[in-house]
Symmetry: C2
Subunit: 452 residues, 2 copies
């Protein structure tokens, strides 16, 4: 653990840096920053308010800018690049791998990107444009192009001599790829096999034939799913004609797996995946307001439904007091189903083949939940308000809303996925609207019938 700092140490480091910064001891800040690996500097930048972040960035040696930019999250990176001189950005980008370059450039606001491309020389611009040529969130976008390729008819001995001559292999190389004269992928040779194979044998004799390869247009979350499922460390990427175009290594996939898993949680609260905890206040407020606006509409809708029962509410204040219980329980139960189905879809467990079965199961749970919580709430209300009829009414409403919640929680994500709407983003707000409206209608409607 010579260089690496775990999060606890990072806290100490951060405090030390902050103390040095606010004390104006820029020399010692610069020294502290130089001693840390890029990923730790990135963590410190991500853990700092935007003003401190800017001060720190200016104290970092320009030679390390590229390495640190690679490690930063999108939001933080864009903020820093937007304030750099385009020429300095170009210098920082020069050392980046293709996949990091593609990610960095593609997330920039268009005017910043144009400025940077304009500052590049012809060769760099060509490389940048190639990196950007694949659609975002595809295998081609996240791949690296630094593959080592072999011909099938050379001997292992020759391969070993070639590697020894070359001196080193690209980072995280665990597999060499075998292509024919048309650059079509025909096999793979794990690096470890070079150590155990007979040096006289030919590459074609020791390679694994018909290797699994990833099409360059495959969605990146599907790529991540395959890495996870088959425990790959790397995989070749091929174009439509099976030409080898690059390789994807697991360290790139790890980021996608985390983002993918976080996406649902962040979306369900109406937050952007890349939302920076330390973004300026106005920016954060603006971003979160869309979700709050949507929720205001939902809340007003629920109020309007209650408004239909004004007569009942003005006659019996107890209805007003109990009016929130049924919608609230429906919202929570529906949200459980929704979360489970969204996760099931992300893991590939929920699909068209079994969606009917799942809706059926969730309906059964909704019915059971309805019975349990109806009995419970009826007993509470009967005891608290000494009113058995009111207890029966709220029990009936609970029953209805629990079933509606289960149905919506299971059906909404399935139908939304078919309509290509992200269920994590819009599912919960629609679900809450349904459970609010159904809950209020069922409770106040039944009460109006029997009590007014």
């Amino acid at each position: 653990m010579a260089e690496a700092i775990a999060s606890k140490q990072a806290q100490g480091q951060l405090k030390q840096l902050n103390a040095a910064l606010s004390g104006g001891q820029f020399v010692s800040v610069r020294k502290l920053l130089l001693e840390l690996p890029p990923s730790d500097v990135a963590l410190i930048l991500e853990s700092s308010p935007s003003r401190t972040r800017e001060e720190l960035w200016n104290l970092i040696d320009g030679d390390f800018h590229g390495d640190i930019l690679e490690e930063l999250s999108e939001d933080v990176r864009n903020g820093i690049i937007s304030r750099m001189m385009p020429a300095n950005v170009v210098d920082a980008l020069e050392e980046m791998d293709t996949d990091d370059l593609a990610e960095t450039l593609s997330s920039l606001p268009d005017e910043v990107l144009q400025d940077i491309l304009a500052s590049m020389d012809a060769q760099d611009r060509l490389r940048a444009e190639q990196a950007l040529s694949y659609g975002e969130e595809t295998a081609g976008f996240i791949m690296n192009t630094d593959t080592i390729t072999l011909r099938p008819d050379v001997s292992i001995d020759v391969v070993l001599r070639y590697i020894r001559l070359k001196g080193d292999l690209p980072e995280n190389t665990d597999t060499l790829y075998v292509v024919n004269r048309n650059d079509i992928l025909i096999g793979i040779v794990p690096v470890t096999r070079l150590l155990t194979a007979d040096t006289q044998s030919k590459v074609s004799e020791v390679m694994d034939e018909e290797p699994e390869a990833i099409p360059d247009n495959m969605a990146d979350d599907e790529v991540a799913g395959m890495f996870e499922r088959y425990n790959w460390l790397s995989a070749p990427v091929v174009d439509a004609k099976h030409h080898l175009v690059g390789r994807i290594t697991i360290d790139d996939v790890v980021d996608i797996i985390r983002e993918d898993a976080e996406h649902s949680m962040m979306s369900m609260a109406g937050l952007d995946d890349e939302e920076d905890t330390f973004a300026p206040i106005l920016q954060s407020t603006r971003r979160r307001s869309v979700w709050l606006a949507l929720n205001l509409v939902t809340a007003l809708l629920a109020a309007m439904v209650s408004d239909l029962f004004e007569a009942a509410l003005s006659q019996l204040a107890v209805l007003a007091i109990l009016n929130t219980i049924v919608p609230s329980m429906g919202g929570v139960a529906g949200n459980q189903t929704l979360t489970l189905v969204i996760r099931g879809m992300a893991l590939g467990h929920v699909n068209t083949g079994n969606s009917r079965w799942i809706i059926g199961k969730e309906l059964a749970i909704g019915f059971l939940n309805g019975v349990i919580w109806a009995v419970l709430i009826a007993s509470v209300i009967a005891l608290w308000k000494q009113d058995y009829v009111l207890g029966m009414i709220i029990a009936f409403a609970m029953m209805v809303n629990m079933i509606a919640a289960a149905f919506s929680g299971a059906f909404l994500p399935i139908i939304m996925k078919k309509l290509k709407i992200d269920p994590a983003l819009a599912g919960s707000v629609i679900l809450t609207t349904i459970t609010d409206v159904v809950g209020i209608f069922a409770f106040l409607g039944t009460a109006t019938l029997f009590l007014i």
Copy 2:
């Protein structure tokens, strides 16, 4: 893509299997299952209702049981093992790596585990007990013990001959470890370096000294964080005295990263991380009921607060109609802050050094949100209900609740983490209670003061 099936193909496969199963064509089911890699069979089992799952399991060749069990999620695996004969389980476990063995055994219900241990011979039992000797969720628990170790004074040539003699290396070996005569880790040699190093040089001359090593008692999510941050593919594990005890490879870490990221989302809906989408109805209902019970208490608490204002509610039905808007907006805004802070803590961005800054920032956003939504709701109510005083009252309540929401959303997870309570699990229910109570008090209280 010769063998692998992506999720879309899995659907087709699943349909074919189901058709064959329900048609009683067990021979073709068995054949279909034999053709698939274990991870795909696992996915199919996880995507099947429990009865189908059992039928399929009985049709799978016993030789593959171990490989498939390794790939299953905890809930599904436990269900299957509980219904197997202990002797068959022992056979299936024999081929497992130490880390998979530890995970499988530790998650079993105690009586099942005892049955299985009792059916083992002495050697297997020793291995099982060793695997279980590390605490769950530690580095020692997830490590593998199949390391290849070298002595510093041998030559690369000898190492190469040794490997060639051995014939193959353990799965996912990218690094060899150098230990002294006391088994203390003193260096590492990447496999690729064996290909490029001078064969006459000694191991000590080509090894990386003072390698970063993971203490065997480090928490597994911290291990995952280090792999993610430093882009490792594998890392050595050492005990307190720096003896090499095993290695962790990234494919084991990937599962932890996903589980870790999913944990928050599942917890926030009151679900168990490992909750099986296809679990029996009664089991699912029972598991989810704790959360619903908690929410019923919250909802009743909110109703009791409203009950305090019965006089106001019975005089003015409009208060009943609008009573849900302020609590609802507070809940949503508070949940955004909570989600962001929980994610920030998981990523290591939020720590004691900057928590005060974050609470300050969120309070500022809460204040801004308060102003924005207060003005908006006041205008809506003034227009809808033609009542300016009511508009002012709800605006004031909105203001108060938005600030309370921001404060609770930022403060709760920070204080809960200090108290070692999981904020993802309990945070949102406490938050909702606060925003409900504050929202109702602020709205009905102010209304009672000015309107009654």
